[in-house]
C-alpha cells in the first residue's frame, strides 16, 4: 500500500466553499476545480497510488435516508481511498422510525465527532436544512427531485475526458426531466461550462418554464438527434411517477428509447451516457448500452474520483 500525503495542494488552497449543496451554487471556476482535482486523483491512480492519506484522522458520515446502493458504495469507497473513517447510517431501522426528527438524528451523529456529512434524502432541500443546523460540512448525495451534484460532475468529467472541453458541445438530457435531480444538476453544470443543453422527453415529463434554466426543449428525439454530441439517457423512475404521465412503457421506448436503429442517425462520435441503473430495453437497448458509443462504465469509475475530489476539497480538516 502506498500512502501519499502530499498531493498538489494548489486547488485545495483556492477552494472556499464549505458545503456542496448543488451545482446551482457553484461557479464555473469551482466546478472546474473539482474536475481538475478528480483528474489529479486519476493521474495518481494510474501511477498506482490508489490509497491516499489525505483525510486520515477525519470522519465522514454517510446519511442515507433513501436507499441507494451505487452512490453509497461510491462515497464509502471514495472516503476509504482517502483514509477517512466512515460512519454508515440508513433510515431503515433507525430512530427516525420512532419519530425522532431528521435534524435530531443528524445532530446526534454530528455529536459523535463527524467532520463531513454525505446526505441522500427524498425531500428537496434536506441537505440545506442540515447545512443550516449542523457545524460540519454537508455534501448533497441527491435531494429528492432537486439536485444530485456529484452525479452531474461525473457526467461532465466523463464528457470532458473524451472531448477535452464542454464549450460548444450540444448535450441532450432525455427522459423524465420533471422528476430528475440528475437533470437539474446537469443543466446547471453543463450550461455554466459553456455547453448547449437540450432537454427532451414527453411533454408531461418536462416541467414548466424549464427554458429559463438556459436550456432548449424538444419533444421529438429523432429531430434533434443529428445535432447531438452527447446524449444522457435519464432513467424513467417508475416509482416516482404519478399515473398517466405517459401512456405506456412500450410507447416511451418507441419514442425516446435509444436503440441501434436510432443511433445510426446520430453523429459518428456521439457519446451515450446513462446515470444508472438503467432499465434495459426502455431508455436504452443492450446493443447501445454495451456498444462503442457508450461511456456508462467510465461514468462509474469516474464517480469514485469525483467523490474523492469533493470529499477532499470540502473536508474542513487537513486544510493546507
Amino acid at each position: 500500500m502506498n500512502f501519499v500525503t502530499d498531493t498538489d495542494n494548489s486547488i485545495k488552497k483556492r477552494w472556499t466553499k464549505r458545503h456542496l449543496l448543488g451545482l446551482e451554487y457553484l461557479s464555473a471556476d469551482e466546478i472546474t476545480m473539482i474536475l481538475d482535482q478528480a483528474a489529479e486523483f486519476k493521474r495518481l491512480a494510474e501511477q498506482g497510488e490508489t490509497k491516499l492519506g489525505l483525510l486520515r484522522g477525519t470522519v465522514v458520515a454517510n446519511l442515507f435516508f433513501e436507499p441507494s446502493t451505487r452512490t453509497r458504495t461510491s462515497f464509502g469507497l471514495a472516503a476509504k481511498r482517502l483514509s477517512a473513517d466512515t460512519v454508515e447510517f440508513s433510515a431503515a431501522g433507525s430512530s427516525l422510525v420512532k419519530g425522532e426528527t431528521f435534524i435530531d438524528t443528524a445532530r446526534n451523529i454530528e455529536a459523535m465527532g463527524v467532520d463531513q456529512v454525505v446526505v441522500r434524502h427524498s425531500t428537496p432541500g434536506a441537505p440545506h436544512l442540515l447545512a443550516q443546523n449542523l457545524n460540519t460540512s454537508v455534501l448533497n448525495a441527491g435531494d429528492g427531485t432537486h439536485e444530485h451534484p456529484t452525479q452531474a460532475l461525473l457526467d461532465i468529467f466523463t464528457i470532458r475526458e473524451h472531448r477535452g472541453t464542454l464549450q460548444g458541445l450540444t448535450v441532450a438530457l432525455v427522459g423524465d426531466i420533471s422528476h430528475s435531480r440528475v437533470a437539474r444538476s446537469n443543466i446547471w453544470g453543463l450550461t455554466k461550462l459553456g455547453a448547449r443543453v437540450i432537454v427532451c422527453g414527453p411533454a408531461t415529463l418536462i416541467p414548466q418554464h424549464v427554458e429559463k434554466l438556459g436550456v432548449e426543449v424538444a419533444t421529438n428525439l429523432d429531430k434533434i438527434l443529428p445535432e447531438l454530441d452527447c446524449i444522457n439517457l435519464l432513467r424513467i423512475q417508475f416509482e416516482r411517477q404519478r399515473s398517466g404521465l405517459f401512456p405506456s412503457i412500450a410507447e416511451y421506448a418507441h419514442l425516446f428509447g435509444m436503440n441501434g436503429e436510432r443511433l445510426k442517425t446520430a453523429k459518428d462520435d456521439v457519446m451515450i451516457l446513462a446515470p444508472g441503473p438503467i432499465n434495459r430495453g426502455v431508455e436504452i437497448t443492450p446493443d447501445v448500452a454495451d456498444g462503442g458509443h457508450s461511456v456508462i462504465l467510465d461514468q462509474v469509475t469516474n464517480g469514485l474520483l469525483i467523490r474523492m475530489a469533493c470529499l477532499y476539497l470540502l473536508n474542513p480538516k487537513n486544510s493546507p
Binding site: 426528527t101 432541500g125 434536506a126 429528492g144 435531480r181 416541467p207 414548466q208 418554464h209
Partner: protein
Amino acid sequence: MTSTRIRGGRVIDPSQGIDTVADLVLQDGKVVSIGTSSAAADIEIDATDMIVCPGLIDMHVSLREPGFEEDETIATGAAAALAGGITSVACMPDTQPVVDNRAAAEFIILQAGRAGLANVFPLGAVTKDCNGEELAEIGQLVEAGVVAFSDATRPLANAEIMRRALEYCGMFNRPIFNHPAVPELVHGGVMHEDYVSTELGLRGMPAAAEDISVGRDIALAKVTGGRVHLQTISSLGSIDQIRRAKAAGLRVTAEISPHNFTLMDERLRTFNSNYKVDPPLRTADHLAACIEGLQDGTIDAICSDHQPYAPEKKSRELNLVPFGVSGLETLLPISIASLIEPGHLDWPQLIGKLTNGPANILGIPKGTLATGAEADVTIIDPQVEWTIDATQFRSRGHNTPFDGWKVRGRARTVLVAGVVVYEV
C-alpha cells in the same frame, strides 16, 4: 354605570364613513358617541396621534381546540388575537372532533366564554367530518350559534355537494366558505407551480387549480342564488373572475391573507418551512393582482388564515410539514407594511377590510362604532417601530415567515365590550 372616554384620537369607522379626530365615549360596554365631550368619565384614555377604530375582526382562524391543543387552545388563540388588536375571530371547524354537530359548536362557544378574551364565532362544517360527501346538520349548527359554513382547508371538491350546500344554507341566509382548489391539480404540491418550483424540484400547485374552482363556485352562486365566500384567494385569475361576478350582482365575496400579498415563491429557495402555505406564495403578477383587488373592493376582507403548529411539526423536511402560518399577531403590522406604507391603501380602506368587511360577510353585529354597538375598540399606534419576535407570540404556533421583520404600527390598547383587555 362605567364610562370611558378615548380622547383625541383619529377615529376611523368605515361602517359609517367616519374619519375624524374626536373623542369616543363608551358607557356600560356600548358606544355612546363620537365627537367632543366635556363630561368627566370614569376612565380616560389618551389617544393623541393614535388611530381609534372598531375592534379588528379576523374571519379565518384555526384555534385547534378540541383535539390539537399542542398547537393552540381557544384561550391561547384568543390571547394571541388580542395581542394582534383583534377583538373577534371566526374559527374553522376542522378540530377533532369536527364541528359538524350542535354539541361541538356549543363547546367552542363555552370555552371561548371561559377564556373571556376575544369574541369567538365558530364556523360549522359544510359536510360531516369535513369529508365532502354528506351535508352536516346545518340547521342545528345555526341554532347553536354557528355563523357560516366551511370545510376549512379541504376544498369542496364535489360540485353537486357545493350546489346543495348553497341551496340548503340559503334557507338560513348563511354563506358557504370554500377554500378554492381542484384537489387533483394540487395533490402532493408544496409550492406555487412556476419557474422556481421547477428549479427547486418541488412539486407545484398551479394557479389554474384555484381559478377553476373559483369559476365553478361563481357559476353555482348564479344558479342557486346562494352566498359564496372564497377563502384566501391568491391568483390573478380568481381575482378577475370575482370582479366580474360582483359586477354582475352575484353574492360572491372574497378574503386574502397578508402573506399572499406580501411574499413571493422565491422565498422557498431557502427551503424554510414557514414559507409553505396553502394557497402557496405566488409570483409578482399574482401579487400585483391581489393589491389591485384590495384597492378596487374585489377583495372584501383581510384575514390571517391563522394556522398555528407546535414547533416539532414545522421543523421537518419540507414535504412532511403542514401548510400554514401563525398569523394573528402579524395580521395588522404586515398589512400596514405591505399596504399602507407603499400607499396601496389608505387607513380607512385598510380598517374596512379588517372590520366591517368581514363583519358583513359573517353577518355579525361587530366592526362598527355606531351608537349602541358593543364597545369593541382597537387603538393603533401607527408610528411605533418594533421587531416581530416569534418567541414572544401568545400563540402556541411560532411558525411565521415574518420573524425578525422590522415593522411600524401595532395595536396599543384593545377593549372588548368597553373593558380594556390588552395594553402594550
